[in-house]
Amino acid sequence: MLAPIAVVGTHVARQVARVGALARFSFSAFQAWGTLPAAGRRVARRVFLNQLWFTALQAIPLAIVLSSILSFLLISQAVRELGRIGAVELIGTLIVVAIVRELGPLLTALAVAGRSGTAIAAELATNKVMGEVDALEGMGIDPVHYLVLPRFAAAIVSVFSLTILFDAVAILAGLVAALANGMSAGHYFDIVLRSLAFRDAGVTLVKGLVFGTIIGTIPSFHGLAVRRAATEVPIASSHAVVGSILAIFLCSALFVAVS
C-alpha cells in the first residue's frame, strides 16, 4: 500500500537532488570566473570566440526571420483590426509590451536553446564519453574553466545581443507592416516611441542576461552529468533542451509577476 507513495517520494527526492546539483554546478560556474588562471584566459578566450561564432553570429539569420515574420503578421493584423475601432494607437503598446518586452527575449531564448543548447549538451556529453574530460583533469585543467566557462559566457552574450537584434528587426518589420496598411512612417514611430519606456528596454535586457545564463548553465550541466555510455548523449541533449525551455518559461512568468 505504501509502495506508490515510496515511488512518488523517490521520484521527488531525485528531482530535488538534481535541482540541488544544478544549483551547485551553477555556483561553481559563476565562481570559475574568479579562479580562471591567467595563462588559461588566452585559451578560454579562443573557445569563447568559437562559441560566439556558432551561438550568436550563425543564429542571426534565424533571429531576423523569426522576428520579421512575427512582427509583420502581428502588426498587419493589429493595424487592420484596431483601425476598424479607431484604436490604432494601441499598436505602440502591442509592439512594446508583446514583442519587445515579452516575445522578443522569449523567442530568442527558445531559438538559442533549441539550436545551441542541444549542441552544448551533446558536445560536452561526447567529451565526457570519450574520456576527454578526465584527460583534462589529468592534465591539471579544470573542465569548468576550459569547457563550461567559455560556453556560459558566450550564451549570455549571444542571447543578450540576439534579443536586441530581434527587437530592432521587429520594430522595423512592424514599420513595413504599418506602411503596407496605409499608416505613415512618422505616425508609426510616434506611436511606438511614445509607448517605449526606459523600463521596458531595461526589463528586456535583463531578460536577455537571465535567459542567456539559463542556456549557458543547464545544457552544460546535463552534458557533463553523463557517465561513460554513448547512449546517454541524446538523453542529455533532450534533458538539456527541455530543462532550458522550462526554466525560460518559468523565469518569463516570474518577470511578469514581479514587474
Binding site: T35, G131, A135, E137, M139, D142
Partner: protein
C-alpha cells in the same frame, strides 16, 4: 629514505572480488601492474591522480595524497605527473598540435613562441610533424597514442602514468612509446619513473620494464 614517486598504501581495487594493493613504485624505474578488466587494475592510475577515490587506502604521489588536497592545489599538482589515459583522451575538436599545446597554454605562463618551440621538439621526438595539423579522427591509432604521450610529456614530468599504452600497437611502436616515456637513461636508471597499468605487456618489452606485477585472485604477484 627517499620518498617514492608513487606509493599505493593498502588500496582496494576491483568490484567483484576486491584486491588490496600495496605497492611502492621506486624512482627511475618502469613498473607495470597487469590484470584482467575485472581485477580493477585500470583504476590504479585514476586513483593516483585522484580522478577516482578508492573505497579504502590511500595513494601518495611524491609524498602527497592528492585526494586530500584542495581542488585548485590538486589540479596544479597533477601537472607534475604525465598521464596517458586509456583510449588516449585527445580532444577531438583540436588538431594534434593544439592537443599537445593545450596543457602548456593553460598551465604555464610561457609565451606562444616558447610553447611553439617546445611543441616542435615534442612532435619531432614523437615523429608527428606530418600529422600535426590533423585532428585525432584523421590519424591512425599509433599516431593518436604518440600525440597523447607527447601531451603527457609536455611539462617533462618526473613521473608518467600510462594506462593500457600498448593496446593495438605493433611491437615496434610499443617499444618506442616505452622508450619515450622513460625519457632516456641516467646514472640511476630511467630519467623518468614510469608506471604502467594494463592487461598485457608485449614480451619484447619485458627487459625494459624493471618491475612487473600481476593482480591475480586478489593478490599482487611479482612476475620478475
Amino acid at each position: 629514505m627517499d620518498t617514492p614517486p608513487l606509493w599505493f598504501d593498502r588500496v582496494t581495487v576491483g568490484d567483484g572480488t576486491p584486491s588490496v594493493v600495496s605497492l611502492e613504485v621506486p624512482g627511475h624505474r618502469a613498473v607495470c601492474v597487469l590484470g584482467d578488466e575485472a581485477s580493477g587494475v585500470g583504476s590504479l592510475g585514476r586513483y593516483a591522480l585522484a580522478l577516482d577515490r578508492p573505497s579504502t587506502g590511500r595513494v601518495l604521489v611524491f609524498g602527497e595524497n592528492l585526494a586530500e588536497l584542495p581542488r585548485r592545489a590538486a589540479l596544479a599538482f597533477r601537472r607534475r605527473v604525465g598521464y596517458l589515459p586509456a583510449g588516449d583522451g585527445l580532444l577531438q575538436n583540436l588538431t594534434l598540435y593544439d592537443n599537445v599545446a593545450l596543457p602548456l597554454r593553460f598551465g604555464s605562463n610561457r609565451s606562444e613562441i616558447d610553447i611553439h618551440g617546445r611543441i616542435q621538439v615534442m612532435l619531432t621526438m614523437l615523429q608527428l610533424q606530418h600529422v600535426a595539423k590533423l585532428r585525432p579522427a584523421r590519424v591512425n591509432e599509433e599516431e593518436r597514442r604518440r600525440a597523447a604521450l607527447a601531451r603527457a610529456l609536455a611539462f617533462d614530468p618526473e613521473l608518467v602514468i600510462l594506462e593500457q599504452p600498448f593496446d593495438a600497437l605493433t611491437t615496434r611502436a610499443a617499444a618506442q612509446i616505452l622508450e619515450l616515456a622513460r625519457g632516456g637513461e641516467s646514472a640511476v636508471g630511467a630519467r623518468r619513473t614510469v608506471f604502467i597499468v594494463g592487461q598485457s605487456l608485449p614480451d619484447v618489452l619485458g627487459p625494459r620494464v624493471e618491475l612487473r606485477y600481476r593482480l591475480v585472485r586478489g593478490r599482487l604477484e611479482s612476475e620478475n
